[in-house]
């Protein structure tokens, strides 16, 4: 079951430095939401706070509320490990585990959590996840080969397969295509289209056309100035965002008249 995300009054700190302030938004279930904005405005920071990956960085902390399917993520009783099992993440640079084969990489989430499963069940998960990531046809004959031997675009799709193999409810993607060529990018975008029937997807992107192509809703983040915290400028349906945005700053950024 895909779930929606409610973010209210979210402030994110790195030590004493306030990186992002006052974010309020509702991310709909089974849809794609894109985060856009200039570098350093806190898109990735907000994304990482949605599955508590943010706090992996020493000194990082969060104030405010993130509610997923009625549960507050930052409640003291919540286990961040349990959160990350429900909310998967794909990173900017493909990062398959170098010691594992393609097969083991896909199963990493299950195996590393010491889930016991039969061979047939494991095979089925691998095939389903790789098919889901549009990679099955390219690798089905060499599942035992190291994941690092694939091309960059294939590695990224392998990472997506690895993320969906644990069947999360939400998939966060941090600039998943920024290291990929146009063909691989289009493969990943097709994949996002296929996945949104089952998952809630949040994607950070620098590519405005990509945001327009894949997302239903778009959030535009901006900085007031250097050293100032980032903030959410506008959250709107993508169609409206790219044709008739509410805020002037959004229009300036989207049309390239930024700064």
């Amino acid at each position: 079951m895909a779930k929606s995300i409610d973010v209210s009054d979210l402030d994110i700190y790195y030590g004493d430095f306030l990186a992002v302030e006052g974010v309020n938004m509702t991310i709909k279930a089974r849809s794609v939401t894109a985060f856009i904005g200039p570098s350093g405005c806190g898109k990735s920071t907000v994304l990482r706070s949605l599955n508590r990956m943010h706090e992996v960085i020493p000194g990082a902390r969060v104030e405010g509320k993130v509610v997923v399917g009625g549960q507050s993520l930052y409640d003291p009783a919540v286990d961040p490990v349990a959160v990350r099992r429900q909310i998967g993440m794909v990173f900017q640079r493909p990062n398959p585990f170098p010691t594992m084969s393609i097969y083991e990489n896909v199963l990493a989430g299950n195996r590393l959590n010491s889930k016991k499963m039969k061979k047939a069940e494991a095979d089925e998960i691998v095939e389903r996840s790789l098919k889901g990531a549009n990679l099955w046809g390219e690798v089905k004959d060499r599942l035992g080969k190291p994941g690092m031997g694939l091309s960059g675009g294939q590695q990224q799709r392998l990472c997506i397969a690895r993320a969906i193999a644990v069947e999360p409810q939400i998939l966060l993607m941090d600039e998943p295509c920024s290291a990929l060529d146009p063909i691989s990018t289009s493969a990943v975008e097709d994949l996002i289209h296929d996945l949104k029937d089952r998952y809630t997807i949040v994607i950070v992107t620098h590519n405005m056309q990509q945001a327009a192509r894949v997302s239903e809703d778009t959030a535009f983040f901006n900085l007031k100035g250097a050293g100032q915290p980032g903030h959410l400028v506008e959250f709107n349906a993508t169609k409206q965002m790219f044709t008739n945005p509410d805020e002037e700053a959004t229009e300036a950024y989207i049309s390239g008249r930024f700064g």
Binding site: V56, V81, N95, P98, T99, S114, M148
Partner: protein, 359 residues
Amino acid sequence: MTTPTLERPSGGDRASLPLTAPQLPPVAPLLSALMAVGAAVLVGLLLSWSLIPIVVLGWLLLLVVLPTWSLLLEGRRKAVDRMVTGLVWSTFALAMLPLLSLIWQVVAKGAPALSVEFFTYSMRNVIGEGGGIYHAIVGTFLVTGLATLISVPIGVLAAVYLVEYSSEGKVAKTVTFLVDVMTGIPSIVAGLFAFALFVLIFGPGIRMGFGGSVALSVLMIPIVVRATEEMLKLVPDELREASYALGVPKWRTIVKVVLPTALSGIVTGITLAIARVAGETAPLLIIAGSATSMNWNPFSERMATLPVFIFSSITETGRYPEAQTQRAWGAALVLIMIVMALNLIARVIGRVFAPKTGR
């Protein structure tokens, strides 16, 4: 020295910049070497010098002849290049000289001592010819093996704490500093520490092989910590994050992702640390002592080891100095072979465990 500059074409005709220049033939270095050596030998024979001055003269001549030839034909830049190349090769040869002569000496003097008896007999009741180093080989393996068993868990876990858990706090800085200090501890001090410790526990005059292991692990732990720390730092944070994002707890991430990725480097570091302490003499002399009989029990009585065996063979020659010296050379050869084998094993392990790219 002025800095070399690109030579401008004479006459300022920029349109016809010459891209070809005269070059020495490829055999020029060999030819100059032959000439230099020939001249040196000739001078040496005329003045009836010994070998070493002849070699030095030949080398000096070569360093002069080739660059001069090059200067006349090829120009300044290439002459300097040939001269520096010559100097670099000379320093390399100089560095290899002691190593090769050491190996040559040990092999030449030690090889005659090797025999089946040498590897299968101890020195029990042997006076004069015969006997062997079986007891010392077993002792070295027992003592260093136990030292490895002690140091590897402590060293690797300490490094895991430093890299994965400490987040660069005060404790980590202190531990890192202490590890650095420990790296510099003279081995005799490590031996005295182990001796003092075991005297406190078991009373004065205690000798046991295990004490030697404790002393060696004092020397080994900092090396293992350092090697492991460096290797763990090389594991990209992206892999840790990828694992966390799959909902894997931190300890499983370390055990299943971080350590396997760094495994080849860690194992290589450990093997080199073993090779480093296997040849230690001073601490073993103090706490493990020396013995002529086989002792399989590291927890009681004196235990012979190869370095101590070499030391005592040379220092306590008795009435059969020749037999003693020959056994010492033989033991030295065996010790070098063991250390060399460990180095080779480290390389093989590094290859086998290295993350594969499949390309």
